[in-house]
């Protein structure tokens, strides 16, 4: 295992320490239970937004804490959802009197732990709404299964809901925006390599030099199918097609196109994929009005990418453009 770490069990806390040292103007870090929260929390009268999940997806979620995005983020162990006490304490810390939105990615662990936390917070008199993000078209949607994973749309929802909260919208309205974003967004990912969970010490799966996994999530898990390596253009087509067919997007739609690195894929390759994805979107009659390109929701050092397409209307565009000031996303201020 080749990583810049000390002991596997110290990875999360030492990274938190780094964040604490690096961004005191933006965030504070609470230990035991662990969470990152806005330096100026609680913002009175504003709906607070709390998210969280396993570590290993950086900058998500901790890098998105700050003005215009999250009020708090709860990091679990690597790829392990955080525990209810983290979300409960974070919720109490950032609650500014207008209620708290929990943005939860659809994984059994995240759902169960956030549910417990929400129950506990409500028992303490805090109004909590939870919205579950489940945008991964690689997973068949079904009533009888755990359903689709929450992936790339999470980043977009956190940005957009953060702006809505900043505007002073009510908890109900911010949750509504979140559900709309979730409903209008679709993602799919692929891996060129596995990643290594620090505690496990070896790659989660073995992938021969000429093969790739299509339909992966963000936890280093294998995907839906393994196949021979293909060109960037072919891979981009394989990711875009199920996305385009699923919603379905319609000619004339305005969209945000998000090309994300799984961690180990460098920017130069993302732009090659973006180029093709943009051309496919244009051919489908979609107007790419906004984009995001880079490592924003990652799987440790996994090489690969995911593509997210989010239908936009004027309200969403305005919320996307609104000022944001976090360690990982910053504009307009």
């Amino acid at each position: 295992m080749k990583k810049l770490i000390n002991k596997p069990e110290d990875v999360v806390v030492e990274a938190l320490k780094g964040i604490e040292y690096a961004h005191p103007d933006l965030v504070k870090v609470h230990y035991e239970p662990n969470f990152i929260y806005r330096a100026d929390a609680p913002v009175q009268g504003k709906v607070a937004i709390v998210s969280g999940g396993g570590s290993g997806h950086e900058p998500m979620h901790g890098g998105f804490v700050g003005m215009g995005m999250l009020d708090a983020a709860c990091p679990g162990a690597v790829f392990t959802s955080p525990t209810p006490d983290q979300m409960l304490e974070a919720t109490k810390m950032v609650h500014g009197g207008a209620g708290v939105l929990h943005i939860v990615k659809n994984y059994t662990g995240d759902i169960l732990n956030f549910d417990m936390a929400a129950d506990l917070a409500r028992a303490e008199g805090i109004e909590v709404e939870s919205v579950v993000i489940n945008d991964d078209v690689a997973v068949q949607d079904s009533l009888y299964t755990a359903g689709r994973r929450g992936v790339g749309v999470t980043v977009l929802a956190e940005k957009i809901c953060g702006a809505a909260a900043e505007e002073g919208r009510s908890l109900k309205d911010v949750a509504e925006v979140c559900r709309k974003v979730n409903g209008w967004g679709r993602s799919m990912g692929m891996a060129l390599t596995s990643c290594t969970v620090p505690h496990a010490g070896k790659p989660t799966f073995d992938l021969p030099d000429d093969e790739m996994e299509i339909g992966i999530g963000i936890h280093g898990e294998p995907g839906r199918t393994r196949m021979k390596l293909k060109s960037a253009d072919e891979i981009t087509e394989m990711l875009m097609e199920p996305i385009l067919n699923d919603l379905p997007f319609q000619a004339g739609d305005q969209v945000l196109l998000f090309v994300n690195s799984m961690g180990g894929t460098p920017l130069i390759e993302l732009y090659i994929v973006y180029r093709k994805a943009y051309e496919i979107a244009a051919k489908a009659g979609l107007k790419v009005v906004r984009n995001l390109i880079g490592p924003y929701i990652t799987s440790l050092e996994m090489a690969g990418c995911s593509i997210t397409l989010l239908k936009m209307d004027d309200d969403l565009i305005r919320l996307w453009d609104a000022p944001v000031k976090t360690p990982a996303l910053r504009w307009g201020v």
Partner: protein, 210 residues
């Protein structure tokens, strides 16, 4: 053989040790159809439980088990944290204020625990989860008690039903948990949660039978 709080603590210690011994094995199973953390999660949780036990060792069984549940909820995370957490919290509810349990008391505490876990996780038999080991183990235990078999033997039958349930998960296509994302590709692999559940029943045999 009444089950005293020392027995409960002995069981928890043995289970912790089994989890430590099988940490890599469980993580390995989770690598194939999950995210390579189940062994690490369970070991972290039960290490914390071991640290907590001395502070409640002089309490009643219900308090001990609830403390285990709370500790797991706060240290494990993932799917298994709230699930095993609920299991122990509910077992604690059923044994509140008890200093000693008959095997039948214990069986009904386990039943309440499993019901709580299933209510939380909404998985059924055949979904390829820990439920596939837990439910057969409970049924075997209840059956053995009803049949009046020797208590040690009852525990052994229960554990072996858990083991069989665990093995039965191999051909299944997962419908719950992370493995469900793999759909057909999840078949052919043993469920890590079912494996840690089997170990829990094996720990009863190891701790309570000679």
């Amino acid at each position: 053989m009444p089950i005293g709080r020392d027995d409960v603590i002995a069981w928890l210690s043995v289970y912790s040790q089994l989890l430590a011994d099988n940490k890599e094995y469980l993580t390995q199973l989770d690598s194939s159809i999950g995210d390579a953390d189940h062994g690490v999660n369970m070991d972290r949780g039960f290490k914390a439980v071991l640290g907590k036990l001395p502070t409640v060792a002089d309490k009643d069984i219900g308090t001990i088990l609830k403390s285990v549940g709370m500790t797991l909820v706060q240290t494990v995370g993932g799917a298994s944290g709230p699930l095993y957490g609920t299991f122990f919290l509910q077992a604690g509810v059923a044994t509140a204020n008890k200093m000693e349990l008959s095997l039948a008391d214990w069986a009904s505490a386990v039943e309440g625990a499993i019901n709580g876990l299933m209510a939380r996780g909404k998985a059924n038999i055949g979904d390829k989860t820990m439920v596939d080991a837990l439910v057969p183990a409970l049924h075997a235990l209840k059956q053995a008690i009803a049949d009046g078999v020797d208590e040690s033997e009852a525990l052994r039958q229960s554990a072996s039903a858990a083991e069989q349930g665990m093995k039965n998960t191999i051909p299944l296509v997962a419908r719950k948990g992370r493995a469900s994302y793999l759909a057909e590709r999840s078949a052919g692999h043993q469920d890590p949660g079912a494996t840690s559940s089997y170990l829990m029943f094996k720990a009863m045999v190891d701790a309570w039978t000679k």
